[in-house]
């Protein structure tokens, strides 16, 4: 079976260089809409009306985006004659709503962070993108990040999904079993606002309704590099996304 050893050697190192240098491979991010200026106010409000989750907010000729709630349905990208501008970046992690100061971990955590993942009602996309962090193309181990086998050994709780009622208990128990200091990351639009599942008898409409969230990584799903950016942010190796993540309606 030595051929596997040679097979591995022959393929060489394929991991991304991020964060040392930006990742330029096409297709690493689905992109997201950004603030766009249109020719007229009528056009702007027409484009804003396309959005099924109501996160495009027209003010005059400009359409702003509440990025926390965007579900990447692409209807404002391809669905009308006038379209929003989409940016193919991936550094999306930002401070949780209402949290003004970041609470980075002590320096000792910068290159050794153990992540506990909890799937709380996710559709499989966010969870799959989290699993991709172990993919050789992303290989989060090179940055000192690991998936923890048990919450007792975890520093960060990475929760995906809108928190289904059946998972509320397991999610809380996992959080309580983690030692201090600990942080909570809500990854994916569903984990932030509830996404398409919203608030219902079976969906809590986001992790924040159950746990204190420190960091939000929007996206439906957030690509693996956005998740890496989130982990780098939580240990203070990267600043959170500079883009204003939230526009109040009518502002």
């Amino acid at each position: 079976m030595s051929f596997w050893f040679l097979h591995g050697l022959r393929n060489g190192i394929q991991s991304s260089r991020y964060p040392a240098s930006p990742e330029s491979a096409p297709g690493v991010s689905s992109g997201r809409p950004v603030t766009t200026r249109f020719a007229s106010a009528a056009e702007a409000s027409q484009v804003a009306g396309i959005c099924p989750s109501g996160v495009l907010i027209a003010s005059g000729e400009v359409v702003n985006v509440d990025l926390r709630g965007c579900i990447h349905c692409q209807r404002c990208r391809f669905g009308s004659p006038q379209n929003m501008t989409w940016e193919m970046d991936y550094e999306w992690a930002s401070m949780a709503l209402g949290r003004n100061e970041s609470r980075p971990f002590p320096v000792a955590y910068r290159r050794s962070l153990h992540v506990m993942v909890v799937d709380a009602g996710d559709c499989g996309a966010c969870l799959h993108e989290v699993q991709q962090l172990n993919n050789p193309l992303y290989n989060m181990h090179r940055l000192g990040f690991f998936f923890a086998a048990t919450p007792r050994a975890a520093d960060v709780l990475l929760a995906v999904g809108p928190v289904s009622e059946n998972m509320r208990g397991p999610l809380l128990k996992t959080y309580e079993a983690m030692p201090d200091p600990k942080r909570v990351i809500a990854a994916g639009t569903c984990a932030i606002t509830g996404g398409v599942f919203g608030n219902s008898f079976m969906s809590a409409g986001g992790v924040a309704s159950v746990l204190p969230v420190d960091l939000e990584i929007p996206g439906d799903p957030p690509p693996p590099l956005a998740l890496l950016h989130g982990l780098l942010t939580v240990v203070g190796r990267k600043p959170p996304s500079e883009r204003e993540p939230y526009f109040k309606k009518g502002a």
Partner: protein, 539 residues
């Protein structure tokens, strides 16, 4: 390898009207031919005949059981038992009951595959299935909700987050094996560092072998069928493609086809061909991911890494091609939201060829990895008889000699124009499933090429101009197996009932057959070779 005889096609019982005659003769029930994507509809007024009709369709004629759809109409319950006649189409047995009659005789004894469907209907509609061996805690977990909530009834408002609840905090899983030295190992719902899907397994053992494996699913139940009710067609589409991302395109396609058949429109030829292309791209990506999971469950690191690189490259190719890594936001009732240019198609073709080529290299080397094969061969066996009685679908069914594939048996989109094989094996073990995954991945790559070659210019969207009330069945062969979506629209074009019958739901029921009597350490491997999705099952 012994090749079983080609599945004997049921002599065209349906189109010749022979089946209708038998039903009318034997059961004096009304039989109608309806156009709702269904070839034959059998009307039942009394539930006594139900078991006999099921015995005829499932036991004698070997039809596949598709699922049970419960509909609450103003004065009646309609219970729709769906069957697939090989190469002839869908047959539905519709049982009508007055609303105040909530006890129905169970068909699980005749159709094992109906077991979970009845448990689901009991939990969500508050119906009682007489003589069903195990009802109760199923979708609504007893630690969270009391029995008798019935959220799928029309009177239940899903948008009230806080209801009166009396959860049973003392709930304990049912243990089957009780003997000296026997113990149970609970696994989940948060395990493997949480990067697995939330499922709870109670593995019962007397030492080395798993005697019983009882899965407890539905941790991810988000009541998609309930919250879809009252939504407009484009809004429910968002739910259809976002409840199970690994087969998002197939599910959105089944939904769109159901809506199209209610509205009696047909998507343009170019859109149908592109839908085939995208379906096959999704299947190829899914199978590459499953192969990676199988390799990593046996701790064979290099091929696991290689297969997951192939998967990620396909995700990137999907994103470059369509704008979304999981193919969200492409399907829409009436066609596709966007068109693709020749350049993008050629780039996709190159990526798909490359992925198939790499998978071939991988398969060839895996065939010589004896320690890997030892973990898969004759492990997790589902014999063809069990696969038949549980109506197992998709690659798992095909590895147990069930040659069913909706792409060939009930062509949708424009699958009737393609030249492709439906690979199958008859051993039903883990290695057979792995071979089926590889063989299907190659077929998918071929289909992508054919679709690109056959593609003609034209529009991709037939705009929807008016709504109609009605119901229809939409179906697709998702990467995991057959998925059926039953959609009913009201006069204003809003969803009245949306029923999703997923392949994971069907196949999870069959997992215990594969796991029992195999050693503990085989469990994760058997799980990986099934390639199921919990969230698709849960909905």
């Amino acid at each position: 390898m012994t090749i079983p005889p080609q599945q004997v096609p049921v002599p065209d019982l349906i189109n010749t009207g022979a089946l209708s005659e038998i039903i009318v003769d034997r059961f004096s029930s009304k039989v109608t031919v309806d156009g709702e994507g269904i070839a034959l509809s059998i009307d039942l007024e009394h539930s006594e005949k139900l078991a006999d009709i099921c015995q005829l369709l499932f036991g004698e004629l070997d039809f596949t059981f598709g699922g049970l759809t419960v509909e609450q109409h103003p004065v009646e319950w309609h219970l729709r038992y769906l069957f697939l006649a090989p190469r002839s189409g869908w047959i539905q047995v519709v049982l009508r009951q007055p609303l105040d009659v909530t006890t129905i005789s169970s068909v699980s004894a005749v159709i094992h595959a109906a077991d979970w469907h009845e448990r689901e209907a009991e939990d969500l509609f508050g119906l009682h299935f007489k003589d069903h061996p195990r009802l109760g805690d199923f979708i609504l977990h007893d630690q969270v909700w009391q029995e008798g909530v019935a959220p799928m009834r029309k009177s239940f408002d899903p948008h009230q987050p806080h209801m009166e609840r009396r959860p049973n905090l003392e709930w304990k899983p049912l243990l089957v094996v009780m003997d000296t030295g026997a113990f149970a190992m609970p696994v989940g719902p948060v395990y493997e560092g949480g990067i697995g899907e939330p499922i709870h397994f109670m593995l019962e053992t007397v030492g080395e072998d798993v005697i019983r494996a009882v899965p407890r699913l539905f941790y991810n139940y988000r009541a998609v069928e309930k919250i879809a009710e009252g939504k407009a067609i484009p809004d429910a589409l968002l739910l259809a493609e976002r409840f199970a991302a690994k087969s998002a395109f197939a599910h959105s396609l089944a939904y769109c086809q159901a809506v199209e058949s209610i509205l009696r429109i047909q998507s343009p030829p170019r859109a149908r061909r592109l839908r085939v292309l995208l379906c096959e791209l999704e299947r190829l990506r899914h199978h590459a991911g499953t192969i990676a999971a199988i390799c990593s469950s046996t701790a064979l690191a290099v091929p696991a890494a290689h297969a997951s690189i192939i998967e990620e490259q396909l995700l990137r190719a999907s994103c470059q091609f369509s704008g979304h890594r999981y193919l969200f936001g492409l399907n829409t009732p009436g066609g596709l939201l966007r068109d693709f240019d020749t350049f993008a198609l050629q780039a996709l073709r190159a990526s798909v060829d490359d992925a198939a080529q790499q998978l071939r290299v991988l398969e060839k080397r895996l065939q010589f990895s004896s320690s890997f094969l030892d973990r898969l061969e004759e492990v997790g066996i589902v014999d063809p008889a069990n696969a038949q009685s549980l109506s197992l679908t998709g690659p798992v069914g095909r590895a147990s000699a069930r040659q069913y594939d909706l792409r060939r048996d009930c062509p949708y989109a424009d699958y009737e124009h393609y030249d492709f094989a439906v690979p199958y094996e008859s051993e039903g073990d883990g290695y057979a499933r792995l071979r089926v995954f590889f063989a299907e991945a190659y077929q998918s790559a071929r289909l992508v090429q054919q679709a690109i070659e056959l593609l003609e210019e034209g529009p991709v969207l037939h705009p929807i101009s008016e709504w109609r009330a009605g119901a229809a069945l939409g179906w697709a062969e998702s990467p995991i197996g057959a998925t059926m979506h039953w959609v009913r629209l009201d006069e204003s074009g809003k969803i009245e009932r949306y029923r999703i019958m997923t392949p994971s739901f069907t196949n999870w029921l069959g997992l215990h057959v594969a796991v029992e009597d195999f050693a503990f350490q085989d469990f994760p491997i058997i799980l990986a070779t099934f390639g199921l999705s919990a969230t698709e099952c849960d909905r």
